[in-house]
Symmetry: C2
Amino acid sequence: MTVLSERRPTGGARQVASEPTVDVAHLEHVLLGRWRDVRREARAFLADPRLHRVEGMSSAEHRATVLEQLRILAVEGDVLRAFPTELGGADDHGAALARFEEVLVADPSLQIKAGVQWGLFASAILHLGTEDHHRRLLPAAMSLEVPGAFAMTEAGHGSDVASLATTATYDPATEEFVIHTPYRQAWKDYLGNAALHGTAAVVFAQLVSGGVGYGVHAFYVPIRNPETGEFLPGVGGEDDGLKGGLNGIDNGRLWFDHVRVPRRDLLNRYGDVAPDGTYSSPIASPGRRFFTMLGTLVQGRVSLDGAVVNAAKLGLITAVTYGNQRRQFTAASPHDEVVLLDYAEHQRRLLPRLAQTYAHVFAHERMLEAFDGVFSGAHDSDEDRQDLETIAAALKPTSTWHALDTLQAAREACGGAGFLTENRLVSLRADLDVYATFEGDNTVLLQLVAKRLLADWSKDFAGIDATGLAKYVAGRAADAAMHRTPLARVVQVLSDGGDVRRSVGHLRDTETQRELLTDRVETMIAEIGTALRPAMKAPKDEAARRFNAQQHVLVEAARAHADLLLWEAFTAGLAQVTDPGTRRVLTWLRDLFGLSVVERNLAWYLIHGRLSAARARTVTSYIDRLLTRLRPHAQDLVDAFGYGPEHVRAVIASGVEEQRQEEARAYQRRARADGTAPRSEKAERPAHGRSRG
Amino acid sequence: MTVLSERRPTGGARQVASEPTVDVAHLEHVLLGRWRDVRREARAFLADPRLHRVEGMSSAEHRATVLEQLRILAVEGDVLRAFPTELGGADDHGAALARFEEVLVADPSLQIKAGVQWGLFASAILHLGTEDHHRRLLPAAMSLEVPGAFAMTEAGHGSDVASLATTATYDPATEEFVIHTPYRQAWKDYLGNAALHGTAAVVFAQLVSGGVGYGVHAFYVPIRNPETGEFLPGVGGEDDGLKGGLNGIDNGRLWFDHVRVPRRDLLNRYGDVAPDGTYSSPIASPGRRFFTMLGTLVQGRVSLDGAVVNAAKLGLITAVTYGNQRRQFTAASPHDEVVLLDYAEHQRRLLPRLAQTYAHVFAHERMLEAFDGVFSGAHDSDEDRQDLETIAAALKPTSTWHALDTLQAAREACGGAGFLTENRLVSLRADLDVYATFEGDNTVLLQLVAKRLLADWSKDFAGIDATGLAKYVAGRAADAAMHRTPLARVVQVLSDGGDVRRSVGHLRDTETQRELLTDRVETMIAEIGTALRPAMKAPKDEAARRFNAQQHVLVEAARAHADLLLWEAFTAGLAQVTDPGTRRVLTWLRDLFGLSVVERNLAWYLIHGRLSAARARTVTSYIDRLLTRLRPHAQDLVDAFGYGPEHVRAVIASGVEEQRQEEARAYQRRARADGTAPRSEKAERPAHGRSRG
């Protein structure tokens, strides 16, 4: 997307000799991370027009096209890396996701349809099934011979998976499970591949044997006749119809009327039923068993995080490239209009989002490493898995919301042109909308994160030593003091003395930023924990009320935790940047991210006495300074994402705007030169107006 | 949308005897405002399925359908109220917009296409033309015999209308204007009716006579042969193609190659050219002339504001109704799951947006009254017009962003169901996206508002009396003191003494809220004005740099001004509520709006020493209290919008969710009663698991 003439600073940005430059190739190398070769291969492959979204299709055409593209992927797309070597895979989990995440640039519908087939349907067979299932069922799922649905969500229960109402009742007489949908709310819903293409499904149902419920388990259930496409006896469903986006996927509903499947089609890695109906599981605790099963599917959240960050990159490439060419209104010069990105407000709209996108790139890379560690078995302790799940639960909501926000900001920054489908921003945003809901509703996930943080906090608190306790109490006291004791504030205000320069130096300091972001998470969790402690022994309804009263702060604390994860990842990422100029610019970008987070929560820092009013003011002024410094590098920073025109596919980012403006300026210059340009009315004396004809 | 069983408070909300109730009918009466009869008629008319958006059509089908619907509107839709009585109109401007704004509930494409025809094309002939044009051209435009385009925007100039490059050069030899497009950037773009249906256009071009440019004027230009639909000689264009929404409108591009139109087809109310080429205008100043011409088109912004607020109402009706029925996760009860709207975070997502929507309803009504005053001639001074334009420039950006934000929050609050087109939230949001850009880019409009505020401020400052000056300086001093002088802060913190109850009482006070919101606007403008004063006499580039450095704060100040307008309108609106219970609830809602604005800008209030840390804390805790108080009234508050199922047309808001959940709960009660419900695994002793078969 590089537009050379715009790569160097334009009008508004004054450069000095010492101005650092960005080594775009080096930065691209760093951003592509450990799986850079896989990502480069994937991008080369996805440049193939056969795989690209064609706009303006009917939903039926789009669905058919995406199925065709999925077949191409199955054959040429190297989609099996995560599967066992003996079945033609590579047992290479991190690389598989890195590659899968790139598919979004072709069409998010294709990415999600692929995710349903290989990431959910086939993966469930792999991770929840055992050797017999791998042998019997995996090959056809991997080859797409059997397109499959992942039948977990029900109309009545999306987030609350443990409460699914579909039942799988074991019948020892025939050694079969009877899959049944008791009522309308128990219909499976929103399932990709369910409306049209799926011939089988992994169905999650309450396993019942001998009158005892053993919780949610997964079953392999054929649903359609592959020849006729008709539902099999006892199976029914509906098409979910049009959606706000992702209409290349045939989402639908399924119900089962006493459908019988053989005992062996229970995916029995974590729970099995003997011919006589005896239930057994390697995990005694029903709760741990449930979360272990769901945990094997964490890759869905991990890969969504990577995919939406790629979408944010595309949006920023388009908006920054256009913003570097589009001109509107004159300022200093009477003739040459100002380039949009030279406007401070335009920088405010795009550059902090660019900074957060960088943070997400580095954070995702870290999460992908953790994911690879767990699934390769290299680092596969319970704690590793729990950490991975918590990180995924924190990053997926943050990145999906960030991508929606960034695509919208890019859309608006491109004005009317941004609304044209040919520039892709609106379609990408429409497709990504539901990413905030599926694979775990963002708000629900953030509460899981907060609960994990609380658990850690109260464990610490239980096993805390005298010093720790003292520190904690002191912390609370100091905190309170900030609100209660004028003196404490006086001292702090005096210490700042409103010396802006020193104050900025302070904010630029990595340790200061770390301290501010860390302190916020710890303090919020400590405050919530303290407020919730009475709830532990309170009656159920009182406990529920107290917990509900904290719900909003819980979500905020989880966001604060995610902000910290992002900042730490960005900071760690800086170490990989060896080129000094590039590192300097990237450090500004990291500062912009860190201080934007602080600015967003400035009231909290002031209320808690962490920043004085004088210092708080400098946060915004330093952000303004960073925007001016970063502005000349904006194009380099988006070019370093390494996507070409064949991936961005936005007309306004193609350079056409600049050519047309040059044509216009040339015309005007000629007109001024040869005197054919109209004279200004003001310049004319009243007399002149008359009888020129 | 009323669902009786949910009208009264549910689980989470504990009521006391003194709990007020909302008189929904009375509140609806108040909200419908001065033009309630027109609005009721419009809603009754728009219940007609012939006018409703049909989802899943191709863009071509959708365009054809909307044209048909437009013809229905032309005949049965009472669309001519704003036009002169002698031509079959009613000279009834406020009523015309009130009615037009409702059309959105049928299909935003229909509303905007109607806006192009009657609000822009025909209105331009009415307001920029004179008696001869009204006689010759208006009837066919009004009757839709001539579908027309409003050709103002060019590819190269959207917001900067004064810089349009299309020329209209007068040729006294033939007494014609030559309309010409000099280069690609001068193509007219994004014009509704231009791609297909328009047979004429009002074209804005630089009027040139005798080599002198007299600025932008409007010309009536036939563009297509009505029979063949072919472009006329010298006219060409392109289809804008697919868009992010509003695909029922045929937006397109137009260019003109020396197209000649008779002298009389200059819409000459504000500028005319004599046969000999002499230019004359009732307005000597080119600048004032330009803004006067554009000012006659302010109704576009006014009506968008009303229309998007109606869209926000639809979104909230759906989300609140569903949130009052949908249940997820159990809390206090082991069996009955919690209704979504009983969750504090769900209340946080919806109720403050409901409060802001109410503020917009009242603010729009006020603006509509001002609009009617100006266009009826009752209050038509220059100042009246300038005030109206400033209010419109402040409210249109705020309401369009609010509607997008509210529809998105509603979409997410409805989870996966919100993503299904059958529930309409996604289509409404997609259609409204561009409302933030057209009729004036939101960010550009806000800068106009800020400049107006600055002009007022510096006028005040110029003509300020000794006391006023003293007050101003004192204000500045006190302000500075808050950051510099520990003592000042000490005093304030002591005075609050962290007495939360008194502090809350303080925040609940109308005058306190007014003072907080007003003070912020005045202080921001004063700070900007002071920072910009040196720019007045600085060289052009230095002035541009200084202004650019303030751009972000300028936009923020304009938002703050809009917040104040909204709050004042809401507060004034309370006086119209005569039912005590309703007024009490609405006062809570007004407080929620006011304090949400304060909470959003809490850091500013802390930094400027307007709120102590202790008091700032109570802002959030009081908001939480208001949410709990308002929650039982949420359904009443959306029911009072007065839209029926025929307007909302969202499956999930139809009550089906509640029926299905009752079916599920009944099934589970039966199962528990007759003992067919599976026993819990935990309850079983290990032995039990075995040999039950």
